[in-house]
């Protein structure tokens, strides 16, 4: 069954954040379209900015000279003499890395707000935390290389913080005051760190996306081009410059800080270094605990019924979480493979049920079975819910809403007094269910109401539903189903008004349509269908029927 909404302070915080994102995201949806909405591409933009920083960094390294005096001079040469290429590249390097912090922070907050960090999604959340740490280490080591007054400040405060840990024999902060112990080897070390840490960061970014299928690591080209152009514009408007050569005998004050990378540094002047470390530790512990605040009561993982599985692999193709893989057949049937669910990765979204060609409510069986099903919300129960909800419809213009539990369609239908069936994800509804509803005259029209297109809770539910209805993805909606009686709306939980308007508009539209005359593949009534004997196994079914019911 779809999960009940959770309550409590964390849930309230999530909802408040969702409202905040909603206020930004919907206008961006209108301006950019769901496909180009930057808020729907935060992770992909993070990857894009990483590559931007990497490429610009490699280019800058051509001009960079290590050494106490030479480092600063080489950066100044880059900024002044070669401003039109290397100078702009330096600014791009800076601003892209700053924007990466913004993207990562927004990505983290958005995933938290949409509750995409609990349950089996803990893995992506936890692997994201070291990414945050390494991102900061990469940025901070980069500031040291310029060896200007900001570098002096960063070096001094960072080393004072590290000294508090007591892991070095001598206070390393003494290297950055007038004690004359700093040598050129320091820059060699910093260059090494500034290269090695981002490489490790990239490795962790790969680990971060291991447990999701079809991860978005490249934003749409148009969006990437627009973002790059805007960064170049910012670089030309406000070039990144140094803040004067280091003088170890003079405190770098005042100093223009990078508030994205160094927001905690001024705290060291107000708090003890131990307190700053304590704040950082508390931040990481709290964020690491979020997937279990509170623990997600997980629905049972999808289960494969081999008697109805022909190994077509559509469930594995469509699963957004890499929870299904195809393995060698174990039951002796004449198919090379069978689906296998990894329960530790399955979120019970039901997308696999919607992808299974055996998932057809037309099947005459005492207990409707399919190749892969949710134990807590099987296809049989879904069909019962549909027929029960449809039975409450009367009069002309009967609209049945198939609503995603994360979207606004369910609430709108309830407010509108329209029958609705709620699903964990609309992509759980197999296309034959739509055919079934209309051909059995259970409703005059169907409104499929999912999450906002740019914020699909189960990542791919909206895309798969659209493609199945457009008949570009199997299993697809049969051509005989009148498309004018099937509408989709992708709206967030806060867009109930838009859903209600769409519902009313659809009812008016349906009322103008001539009576539907669909030829049912089974002329028998639903009651007959429910009381009929079990269907033949996939092996006994004709190949055409097995693959595309």
């Amino acid at each position: 069954m779809p999960a009940a909404p959770s309550a409590g302070p964390v849930a309230l915080l999530r909802r408040t954040l969702r409202l905040g994102f909603e206020a930004i995201e919907r206008p961006l949806d209108r301006l950019f379209g769901p496909a180009l909405n930057p808020l729907a591409q935060l992770g992909a933009l993070g990857f894009f900015l990483f590559w931007t920083v990497a490429v610009t960094g490699i280019y800058l390294f051509i001009f960079f000279d290590t050494g106490i005096e030479r480092a600063y001079e080489s950066v100044e040469r880059v900024t002044d003499a070669y401003w039109f290429h290397a100078g702009v590249t330096r600014s791009l390097h800076r601003y892209a890395s700053d924007l990466m912090v913004v993207m990562v922070a927004a990505h983290l907050l958005r995933e938290f707000a949409h509750d995409r960090c609990r349950g089996v999604r803990w893995y992506s959340w936890l692997t994201g935390l070291p990414i945050v740490a390494l991102l900061y280490i990469s940025g901070i080591t980069g500031y040291w290389l310029v060896w200007d007054r900001l570098a002096q400040y960063v070096a001094l405060v960072t080393s004072e913080l590290l000294d508090w840990l007591g892991i070095f024999g001598e206070p390393i902060a003494r290297n950055f005051i007038a004690t004359g112990t700093l040598t050129g080897r320091f820059f060699t070390l910093m260059v090494f760190m500034h290269v090695a840490v981002p490489l490790f960061l990239l490795f962790l970014m790969w680990v971060h996306i291991l447990r999701i299928s079809r991860p978005k690591v490249n934003p749409p080209r148009t969006l990437a081009a627009l973002l790059l152009a805007s960064l170049v514009a910012a670089a030309l408007w406000k070039p990144a410059v140094s803040q004067g050569h280091v003088d170890l005998a003079v405190l770098p004050s005042p100093i223009r800080l990078d508030w994205f990378y160094l927001p905690l540094y001024p705290l060291t002047d107000l708090w003890s270094r131990g307190a700053v470390w304590g704040l950082l530790a508390a931040f990481f512990v709290m964020f690491a605990a979020i997937p279990w605040l509170p623990p997600l009561r997980r629905a049972k993982a999808a289960e494969v019924d081999l008697a109805h599985c022909n190994g077509c692999a559509r469930c594995a193709e469509d699963c957004p979480y890499e929870a299904i893989r195809m393995v060698r057949r174990t039951d002796g049937m004449a198919f090379p493979t069978q689906a296998e669910v990894n329960p530790s990765l399955c979120v019970a979204c039901g997308i696999c049920v919607g992808a299974c060609p055996s998932s057809t409510p037309f099947r005459r069986s005492e207990e409707l079975k399919t190749g892969i099903d949710l134990p807590d919300y099987p296809l049989r129960v879904l069909r019962e819910h549909v027929t029960a909800a449809a039975a409450t419809l009367n009069g002309p213009g009967r609209i049945l809403v198939l609503a995603c539990e994360h979207g606004g369609g369910g609430r709108a239908a309830r407010a509108h007094g329209t029958a609705r069936v709620t699903l964990p994800c609309v992509a759980m509804a197999p296309p034959p269910l739509v055919d079934f509803i209309l051909s059995k005259d259970l409703a005059d029209g169907i409104l499929i109401a999912g999450c906002a297109e740019s914020a699909c809770h189960h990542r791919l539910g909206v895309a798969w539903t659209e493609q199945r209805i457009a008949a570009t993805r199997d299993p697809h909606l049969r051509a005989r189903v009148p498309r004018e009686r099937v509408a989709r709306i992708w709206a967030s939980e806060f867009e109930t008004r838009r859903c209600a308007d769409e519902l009313a508009a659809m009812r008016r539209r349906v009322l103008t349509l001539p009576p539907a005359r669909l030829r049912s593949p089974h002329s028998s009534s639903l009651t007959e269908a429910l009381s009929s004997p079990q269907p033949p196994s996939p092996a006994a079914m004709p190949a055409k029927e097995r693959g595309n019911v």
Partner: protein, 167 residues
């Protein structure tokens, strides 16, 4: 169909974000210490004498040791704490006993302290005890210094250079 106007609008929104990032990426300015002040920094790493003197082992004691570990003296590793005082214009602003570092207490003592003072002339007196003596000091330096605004005046200790060094 995406019009050129909409594309320009999209660019403007992203450019606005990039401009905000550029602005916040290099400002506003932060001042660590109040205007017109400087920093007097007391920092050095120095090992005090060992807590107990080395003792010559007797012939019997040496004989008891395994042949490959026989030595003439027994020198306990643990060091004494350093005792340090810093006066500015006759007022003691720092007085501390600095324990030796290391798990066995055999490492040097360390100090890294910053004092923010208004710019101006000061009579600085720094004293250090690093031996077994009960009172008095082994090293001392008294000097009139001029601290400029934003200056970092370091008081270091280097026995090879004769004791306290003002940089």
């Amino acid at each position: 169909m995406i019009t050129a106007g909409r594309r320009v609008l999209q660019f403007c929104v992203l450019a606005l974000v990039a401009a905000a990032v550029a602005a916040l990426g290099s400002g506003p300015a932060y001042r660590q210490i109040p205007d017109g002040t400087g920093v007097l920094m007391l920092t050095f790493v120095h090992a005090a004498d060992r807590r107990t003197e080395c003792r010559r082992l007797t012939a019997e004691e040496v004989a008891k040791l395994p042949p490959n570990m026989r030595r003439v003296q027994d020198c306990p590793r643990e060091r004494r704490p350093l005792y340090i005082e810093l006066d500015v214009d006759g007022r003691t602003i720092y007085r501390h006993s600095l324990p030796p570092t290391g798990i066995a207490g055999d490492g040097p003592s360390r100090v890294y302290e910053k004092f923010v003072l208004p710019a101006g002339r000061y009579a600085v007196d720094v004293r250090l005890r690093d031996t077994a003596r009960a009172d008095g000091f082994d090293h001392e330096r008294r000097e009139d210094v001029v601290l400029a605004a934003d200056q970092i005046l370091v008081i270091d200790f280097n026995p090879a250079a004769g004791g306290f060094v003002f940089r």
